[in-house]
């Protein structure tokens, strides 16, 4: 039988918890007996410890009852703190598979709430977007755009742009010609620089509590991402 190869109870330390692997096919009374030995050896270390009871890969639902019984037994006998199922490692195993599915077809179901605008935004005009804002055109001096997420201007940015309003400091502002009068990201404000070259695409982001402007081609912040993801 397979059961004989696996010991009925195994105990090891994982992170800040005790990982207890039990063989769920054995009767509950035998498991309780087997648990006494390692937990007595732990002595005071068992008190208030976090315990994860692993019943193996299959039959997760049926073993809930077993985990609960063993958990209350351990709490009564050894004063352990917290008894849970081993959920986190399962999730990390699945992550890659989920992302691969994303790449395949998840984009089709994603409803974008960004705002795409074509044309020139003139002085005195104000455009507000709940999330991302993309302007196919120029933003003249005196014009103002406000977005909850990123602002991308495929043209010349000369007006005022406020991204990540009110408090998203991860937002960026990107323009092909970056000559703003003022930019805001989250709660940070920066005044435009008069002698900005504006010849290459640049973007602004928050780094170390300050707004930093960088060449978009050289300093592209999204190149580092391992997977394409919805922003």
């Amino acid at each position: 039988m397979n059961h004989n190869e696996d010991p009925p109870v195994k105990l090891k330390g994982v992170g800040d918890s005790l990982w207890v692997a039990v063989n769920p096919s054995l009767p509950i009374e035998q498991l309780k007996k087997e648990l006494i030995k390692p937990f007595e050896r732990l002595k005071h270390l068992a008190i208030n410890a976090r315990v994860i009871i692993d019943t193996g890969k299959d039959d997760q639902e049926n073993n809930d009852q077993l985990i609960e019984t063993l958990g209350s037994y351990l709490k009564a006998e050894f004063q352990v703190g917290h008894v849970t199922k081993p959920t986190p490692p399962k999730r990390s195993v699945n992550r890659n598979r989920i992302r691969q599915q994303d790449m395949g077809n998840a984009w089709h179901h994603y409803r974008n709430d960004g705002l795409l605008i074509a044309g020139r935004v003139r002085s005195g005009q104000k455009i507000q977007a709940k999330k991302h804002l993309i302007i196919l055109g120029d933003l003249n001096p005196g014009a103002e755009v406000i977005a909850g997420g990123d602002i991308i201007i495929l043209g010349c940015l000369q007006g005022k742009a406020s991204a990540g309003q009110p408090d998203n400091e991860n937002a960026i502002i990107m323009a092909l010609e970056f000559k703003p009068t003022q930019i805001q990201i989250g709660g940070f404000v920066a005044a435009g620089i008069a002698d900005s070259s504006g010849n290459q695409p640049e973007f602004a982001s928050v780094e170390d509590n300050a707004i930093v402007v960088d060449d978009y081609v050289k300093g592209n912040p999204f190149r580092r991402l391992a997977w394409p993801e919805v922003r």
Partner: protein, 266 residues
């Protein structure tokens, strides 16, 4: 056929709206059109001074709208140029005295009498501006090569588009020498920001000061560059839209050109 109503506007003050209104009116009249120039700057009128008709004002635009007189009584005929009329503003009222509806009523009457009605819009975007654009068919935006003027013109253009009027651009007071040395915006820079059709470029001309102070029409001065530019703009406004736009440049003499060629080689 009904005439058309053209508003001359800029947003910023002091860029040359009044001078251009007076000169374009004179140029259009000399081309044989019946022209009315209306001063919309109620309370701060000066188109009458620029046109040299100040001493002949009896009735004004507010009198027409209040029904105190007829259009023919208020319109002052220019004695030097046939078919040119001025409807002066009132100096004692303010801009809230008339409303956009009044202007629509007035311009509908003017369209029947005149081929072209020019409205000299006051600076700003308040009541005077609203009155002026309410009734206009076309708009001419005047801008100088200054950052502040471009900013205001941009705002005005947005407001004109909101009224479904497609404006045309005049860049006024260009100093070719400063443009060449990079101290002044070029008209290309202005057009790049404003992105509307250009209808004329007017060079800085000292004669304009003399003409406006003495109330003599600029276009009657044969050798005035600004006057000639105005005449070409008038042609473009009325039936010759394809007349090429002349770019004001430094007129280098033959010897200077020759000298610069030799000096480059050495």
């Amino acid at each position: 056929m009904d005439g058309k109503v053209i508003v001359v506007t800029s947003g910023k003050g002091g860029v040359g709206k009044t001078t251009i209104s007076a000169s374009l009116g004179a140029a259009l009249a000399m081309q044989g059109k019946r022209v009315a120039v209306v001063d919309m700057d109620i309370g701060l009128r000066n188109l009458d001074v620029v046109m040299g008709l100040e001493n002949r004002i009896v009735f004004n635009i507010v009198d027409i709208i209040k029904g105190k007189c007829k259009i023919k009584q208020a319109a002052i005929k220019d004695r030097r140029i046939d078919n040119l009329y001025l409807i002066p503003a009132s100096q004692s009222d303010d801009k809230d005295t008339i409303k956009p509806e009044n202007m629509i009523w007035l311009t509908n009457k003017l369209r029947k009498e005149f081929d072209v009605t020019l409205l000299d819009c006051p600076a700003g975007i308040e009541q005077g501006f609203k009155n002026s654009i309410a009734a206009a068919d076309e708009a001419v935006v005047v801008c100088t090569p200054e950052v502040s003027a471009v900013r205001d013109a941009d705002r005005i253009i947005g407001l004109l588009y909101a009224q479904s009027i497609t404006p045309k651009l005049i860049v006024n007071r260009i100093v070719p020498k400063m443009v060449e040395s990079g101290d002044m915006l070029s008209h290309e820079d202005v057009v790049e920001v404003l992105s509307i059709d250009l209808i004329g470029l007017i060079e800085m001309d000292d004669r304009v000061v003399v003409a406006t102070n003495t109330g003599t029409p600029l276009i009657l001065q044969e050798d005035s560059k600004a006057g000639m530019a105005m005449q070409r703009i008038a042609l473009r406004l009325d039936g010759h839209p394809d007349l090429p736009i002349e770019n004001p440049m430094i007129q280098k003499s033959f010897w200077k050109k020759l000298g610069s060629k030799f000096s480059r080689k050495n």
